[in-house]
Amino acid sequence: MNHSVLVSTLAAAVIAGTPLVWASLGALLNERAGVLNLGVEGMMLLGACTAFLASHATGSAVVGLLAGALGGAGLATVHAVSSITLRANQIVSGLALTIFGSGLARYLGKPVEGTTITGKIGDLPVPGLRALPVLGPVLFDQDALVYLSWVACALAAFYLGRTRPGLNLRAVGDSPATADAMGIRVAATRYAHTLAGGALCGVGGAYLVLRVVSSWNQEGTTGGQGWIALALVVFAGWRPLLVIAGAYLFGLALRANFALQGEGVAIPAELLSMLPYLLTIVVLVVLSVTKRDGGAPQSLGRPFVRDER
């Protein structure tokens, strides 16, 4: 493989990985609060749809992004109410969210099917750094949302590891009863992070339409990327900074087949597409066989009921 193909493939992997970074970070915040949300695919798709509609109406990518975040957070509210307040089964609630969200996105998106938008996210090369060999074009000749995703992950890592609210969040995810006894408001913390997580998933979906494709395709806008994002959280061991590395690796798996075909290496696209999921299963297996939790929040997926009467 020659140099320029390698560089352009890696750059494409970064673009393909960026929606995953945003959505995974959202899912990670959900899960760190102890709320498992299998609705990521639905939130991404609805975020993509609202972002597209807003950009379509206003011609502004910024408005589109905000609309995407709102769409994701709005849908996440449903999950918060059902799984936190009503203590519904989080797995089924999350699936319901994906089903409802993708239905809603396709319903709302139907009138604009096939149209394109002008309010897109533009290139934003970083002066100086872009001239670096390999790293320049791969990492620093991208767009604002790529750089912001690094900032967001770094902030999340700092938040989780070094700040009081972040430590409280981890307490809520690991042992809500203890957190409750410490005076942390468990339900409020879970609500806040479920909504914030939903907003980030919405941004991930928005990035897909505002940057990667600029048209609305009824069936294939997210194409299962929400599931990859969920897998990525496990793969990254619930650590924000590892999400970036994992997302680019999975992004490479999504893009590598084009480059490989160009080189005459025929690995079927379908088999490459399986890779993120198979890798995640392998990680899970290794973690469970070696009896490590891999960073999983201890109370993930469990509703919290304070024994009050």
């Binding site: 299998l38 009503l86 203590r87 409802f100 079927p268």
Partner: protein, 385 residues
């Protein structure tokens, strides 16, 4: 919710049990009506069309029943696993693998074999394919505690790409060599096709599905396995102390769940598509099966009713296509999701009673009350996981 408190019901009555699914459907339809109205459609006309098109014409009714066949099996698959708090959400992938195995086996047996041979081959291979696809998650869950939700979910997407690879991405045994330009599955031998009732699309798979309902209901009510499952579902900790072979039961239940989903794939290819179809073999039915099971509150007999209901929704896509008022077909998916959300949100009302918080109780009385309810509550929350 200041002033309101939830109190656990000792046992939910028939009224509560039936109220939730019925109200969920009404709630979902109401929400859908709001969206339809807001986007300039007439909800009454749309719903009338959906009901008349899928239930009142003999053709429509037959199609609805045909659609509900795989849904019954997919619903049963989810119900048996969910009953013991094993969240197999891999029904989708197990359906695909059931279809792959059923088509592969019947094609391998070949055109010369009679139906007496081919039909058992179709069903057994389908069930085996579904069970094989869940075997790894099942063993990992039983022995290492690996989260079956994530592993079964991941395998859904692997299965999807596998089917696409077999038909679109390669010249596999499953692909029809006579159709080089439009990749499609090799047609199933005639003897492996499930007979239809008269001129309708309803096929023998209906008998298979109803028989499966009977078997599952029998096992749950009459066999030791059913009792073990009930204890494991209601009180996982007690199950261990009661000497129930927890690991073995987990594996058996999950394999059975996978086999039921695999059967759904087998009857779809045997009764409807007659080939391994990368786009048309019960796409999404694994997830719809979870709705079927949740609405039926995991009752095997209830699954039959809710499968028909979901069959109506799925089938109304084709009805809506013919309507002059162009309603986006996604309305049916929205309705399915909304009904499911209402159903699981309403579940708390089956298990609890909402009470106005009464005047302060004396500390002593409160203490005993907390002690008693807390124990029940813990067991219940354990179940809910």
């Amino acid at each position: 919710m200041k002033g309101l408190t939830l109190e656990r019901r000792a046992a939910a009555g028939v009224r509560e049990v039936l109220a939730v699914p019925v109200l969920s459907v009404l709630g979902g339809l109401l929400l859908g009506a709001i969206f339809l109205r807001a986007t300039g459609h007439d909800p009454v006309a749309v719903y009338r069309e959906m009901v008349t098109g899928t239930l009142t014409t003999s053709y429509g009714l037959a199609d609805t029943v045909t659609t509900s066949i795989p849904l019954i099996l997919a619903g049963l698959a989810a119900a048996v696993a969910f009953r013991v708090n094993l969240y197999n959400i891999g029904g989708e992938g197990q359906i695909y693998l059931g279809a792959v195995a059923a088509t592969g086996a019947t094609l391998w047996v070949g055109d010369t074999a009679p139906a007496v041979v081919q039909l058992p081959v179709l069903l057994v291979a389908g069930a085996a394919g579904g069970a094989a696809w869940i075997a790894v998650p099942a063993l990992l869950r039983a022995w290492f505690g690996t989260n079956e939700t994530i592993t079964t979910l991941m395998l859904n997407l692997v299965a999807l790409y596998l089917v696409q690879y077999l038909i679109l991405g390669s010249h596999s045994f499953w692909r029809d060599p006579d159709s080089p330009t439009f990749p499609k599955g090799k047609p199933l031998p005639d003897a492996a096709r499930l007979a239809t009732f008269g001129t309708t699309s309803v096929h023998l798979g209906l008998v298979v599905a109803l028989a499966a309902v009977g078997v599952v209901a029998f096992v749950l009510r009459k066999l030791r396995l059913g009792l073990d499952m009930k204890i494991m579902g209601d009180a996982p900790d007690a199950a261990r102390y009661a000497g129930i072979p927890v690991r073995r039961t987990m594996v058996v239940v999950l394999l059975a769940s996978g086999a039921l989903a695999g059967l759904a794939g087998a009857v779809e290819v045997g009764g409807r598509t007659h080939q391994l179809d990368p786009n048309g073999t019960a796409v999404g039915f694994g997830y719809t099966g979870i709705i079927v099971a949740a609405l039926a509150r995991l009752s095997p007999v209830g699954v039959v009713v809710t499968a028909v209901l979901l069959g109506v929704l799925e089938n109304s896509k084709s009805v809506l296509q013919t309507m002059s008022d162009q309603v986006p077909l996604a309305i049916t998916t929205m309705l399915e999701g909304a009904i499911l959300i209402f159903a699981i949100g309403g579940e708390i009302l089956v298990r609890h009673r909402i009470r106005r918080r009464t005047a302060p109780v004396t500390p002593a009385a409160q203490e005993t009350a907390v002690g008693e309810t807390a124990a029940v509550e813990t067991a219940a929350e354990e179940t809910a996981r």
